[in-house]
Symmetry: C2
Subunit: 205 residues, 2 copies
């Protein structure tokens, strides 16, 4: 948990720390990140660091929060404009997240961040979902989806479907940022997968 002392800090100092964290994370993957180096770069004392943060996890939270802040408006907009089409929404999500690939610094930070994230960690997408919970009108992303076009309509089915799509999205994002695969090709394969999920893999008899 990021402590309240961090938010009490004068803007200048807080920014200095955030920048040091970003610098460290663009050079080392999450498990190699050194608090020693960060306090050196940010020019704060060891004791101070532990007065602001519990541990490295807090630093990850800062970074993910930063990325989330940068894209939350566009995601909100994508949800609004998709008219409840769950498949279209997931394609838009991919595009919004891979926007970060264009900025070299952001790409590196995301790479190092994702590289060592635990396999079942919630990460950005779930972080965003949590953020959305704060929105008055939304409880879950799922509620956005128009069920009229879906074959299965009860909550359990919709949940299964979003879980499948989220898994495929996560995996594609990893292929782009961590494995460094060509974004266009990954997108192509991602869309193909969505198509399969949409219309089914077996022939109708």
């Amino acid at each position: 948990m990021i402590k309240k002392t961090f938010y009490n800090l004068p803007e200048e100092k807080r920014q200095r720390i955030i920048e040091a964290v970003m610098k460290e994370f663009s050079g080392s993957s999450a498990d190699k990140v050194s608090i020693n180096r960060i306090i050196k770069i940010a020019d704060i004392s060891r004791g101070s660091f532990y007065q602001y943060f519990d541990d490295k996890v807090d630093l990850v939270e800062i970074l993910i929060g930063t990325f989330a802040d940068m894209s939350i408006d566009r995601i909100y907009q994508a949800l609004q404009s998709s008219n409840g089409d769950i498949f279209y929404t997931y394609i838009r999500l991919f595009d919004i997240i891979t926007e970060f690939e264009k900025d070299e610094s952001q790409r590196l930070i995301l790479k190092n961040l994702l590289k060592n994230i635990k396999a079942n960690d919630s990460l950005i997408l779930d972080y965003l979902t949590n953020r959305f919970k704060g929105f008055e009108k939304l409880q879950k992303i799922e509620e956005y989806f128009n069920r009229d076009i879906l074959k299965y309509k009860d909550d359990y089915d919709v949940k299964c479907l979003t879980q499948i799509l989220t898994q495929i999205l996560k995996n594609s994002i990893f292929n782009v940022f961590v494995s460094g695969k060509d974004c266009g090709k990954v997108r192509e394969s991602y869309i193909r997968k969505i198509e399969i999920i949409k219309s089914g893999a077996i022939i109708k008899e």
Copy 2:
């Protein structure tokens, strides 16, 4: 890379080390595993350890290899007996892997192993796929699947389909071992997801 010196070791000593590794991994998650403790338990010197292994990664390889060895026969059998039904095969894979949940020690090791595995790490399933490459007659698991019942038949489509199924399988395995969710419930949801992928999520018009 596990060094050849490790395999030159007398059986007794090698077993002592493997047991020490298993003991350590059943008590600590992969990132907390201590080489110090392992060499103490196995009663070998620090220098020796580094003559057998490069680093912790090798220990993970030992363990995954052990689990793979335990299940490879059953997986091979499952592939043979499924008559090329890719969906049935993936359900069998889930069942074979979750067998390990019944043994408390194996459950703990797998939990600690999976907990910190990098999100896009190959893991057991891919490890097994690689093993299969060693088999004379097999190149990839995919070649086992009968494409006649599939709507899409070219290589690209089959690859996309197996990737989707593998992702869903991985996620379900994590839910069982790491998140500690009820195996029966996870299985139910896993089968539901396979059903959706199989027959499609949208209504036919």
